[in-house]
Subunit: 343 residues, 2 copies
Amino acid sequence: MNLKEFSNFLGLSPTTVSRALSGYPEVSEKTRRKVSEAARIHGYQPNLRARALALGRSYSIGHVLSSSNGNELVNPIFGDFISGAAEAGAAKGYSINLTIADQSSEESVFRKLKAQGSVAGIILQSPKVHDQRIELLKELGLKFVVHGRSSGVSIPYSWVDVNNHRAFEQATTFLAHMGHRRIGLINGCQDFDFAHRRLNGYLRALRAARIEPHSDLQTSGDMTEANGYAAAKAMLGLESPATAFLAASVMSAIGARRAIHDSGLELPGDVSLIAYDDDLSYLSNRQSPPIFTAVRSSVREAGEKAVNLLMSQIEGKQVRNDQVLLETELVVGTSTGPRKRVG
Amino acid sequence: MNLKEFSNFLGLSPTTVSRALSGYPEVSEKTRRKVSEAARIHGYQPNLRARALALGRSYSIGHVLSSSNGNELVNPIFGDFISGAAEAGAAKGYSINLTIADQSSEESVFRKLKAQGSVAGIILQSPKVHDQRIELLKELGLKFVVHGRSSGVSIPYSWVDVNNHRAFEQATTFLAHMGHRRIGLINGCQDFDFAHRRLNGYLRALRAARIEPHSDLQTSGDMTEANGYAAAKAMLGLESPATAFLAASVMSAIGARRAIHDSGLELPGDVSLIAYDDDLSYLSNRQSPPIFTAVRSSVREAGEKAVNLLMSQIEGKQVRNDQVLLETELVVGTSTGPRKRVG
DNA sequence: AAGCCTATTCAAAGCGTTTTGAATTTCCCT
DNA sequence: AGGGAAATTCAAAACGCTTTGAATAGGCTT
């Protein structure tokens, strides 16, 4: 059933029906009621494609999932992030348009999204240090919000990020106060901006505590269980082994925990461990007390915030470069304790 | 730049340009080359919304993410599944349309997708036992493929599923052959069809091995680390404790592993553990030897297969009810061993 | 060079909305 | 009852594409 048929059936013009349904004031309350009642009963809904064409905009928010070719690593936070984003969008009638692109085709995907007009705006994920895509998106004139920031990009843009620097500085300091001086950092991939900031926060705290940083105690890589295991295992095997760890995700923390057990050590008796906790729904660390001492910030909430920012940009008149910095909370769980005195 | 401008610029009619770009035979090779060259240089791409309207179909595949209200649990397999789906879709120019709905609004979301014509077809996720949505989708005349099956639904429909029954039967038998007789099942939520089938596979193997099933040894719930821990902990505390576990996901297996260590037991010395492994990219169990003995099937592959099935249904003339049953492989890792003889 | 058939190209009519500007109705006032 | 303003309603023109049916150009044959 299309508008023409439906309005014929009602004995009204398409104009009136369209206006009645969109809530314009030029239509009498009586006919509006009649129309919306009939629409409900007969299940009439305006065709979204036609509507988008006439309106010149699509009620859809683009996400481009990047598949680093070959290595098809899906970010574990993706599910929770997108679910938050979808919910925030749904509240205003937006749905999510998901595309996938490898590094080489990403630019052309953005251009296509722009030319085809299939999205009203874009959420950019996992920015790298000096991420080229930000300038590209500005240049293309696409509206976007970045989940994260990109060090080295000087033009203004809109973002939602966690205070990663402060989070890792705080966590490192916490361990230092417990007497730990061999603190291993199991970081995410260095290319990513958030990993970069976390490293800086860690180094800053070490400096403040007058602890010499050691490259042996700093690793970075995919935030998988396996990598967490390998990194922790290596740092426990050093001549002067780590007595505490900072893991970039609960997933790597789980791997580290396995390495600790494998090495015949106890948590938190022999070794301490702090995780960065994205508060993922299927990997909850919200027991009381929490399993892992952690710096926590909900990635779902970040998804919601990012979409809300984007929508205010879409609906707003002027371009705004709103920025939201989320703080983490340090929650103390059962994985940390004072450094064990040897001998 | 739209078609009219672009064709004006080329000194050709919109008709010819449109045909040249869509590869119709009625246009000379010479002009086609000229047109596509110019399109590349000037970055012309047909507006997707207008195209969809004219063609009467959208190049988009719908996924409805269900947010069981309040409890916002995102399925951990979602990321990998959707990434496989997106990739298969992208190969044929389809993008993914993601909507979110809670249980109560799900039906109206389907109706809306149909009425608005915003998707060419739908992928239905995580079917329950006798899932109402299947009949609804048939009735609405939407094309769809189910990821999983639904026991109790008798009408024919298209699906991609793993042989869950066989997988759990095989895993249980494997443990029984190692001498285990107290085998705990840490299952997914019973409402879901896959959990139902897994339970049946487990029971069948027990029967074949002449082991009496015990309700103490069967739990079901969200496939989280926390639940895996709680379930295993309880079964290890029984008067006659479990000596082996089957976990419905690697995530619950990790929780179970923690419970085992917490109870002062060793893996696989004291207790054995088999996981169902979705082969998630960030939770890989592909080390050699694998950490967990597991029944494995890639959920990413399932995503690809489901979308391919859907697209053949969309593009094909007649409605086909293709069905794909994926088999799991049993990979032996370091988490299983013969039952420890006591005393 | 004329004639015919085929290979190209084009103008115009959709697709299902929204929206502009005009036409109609309604209502109130004198 | 008549006139004018305000409140409703409508016809027609976009939006940017595809596609049908008609028109033109091109290539052969005689």
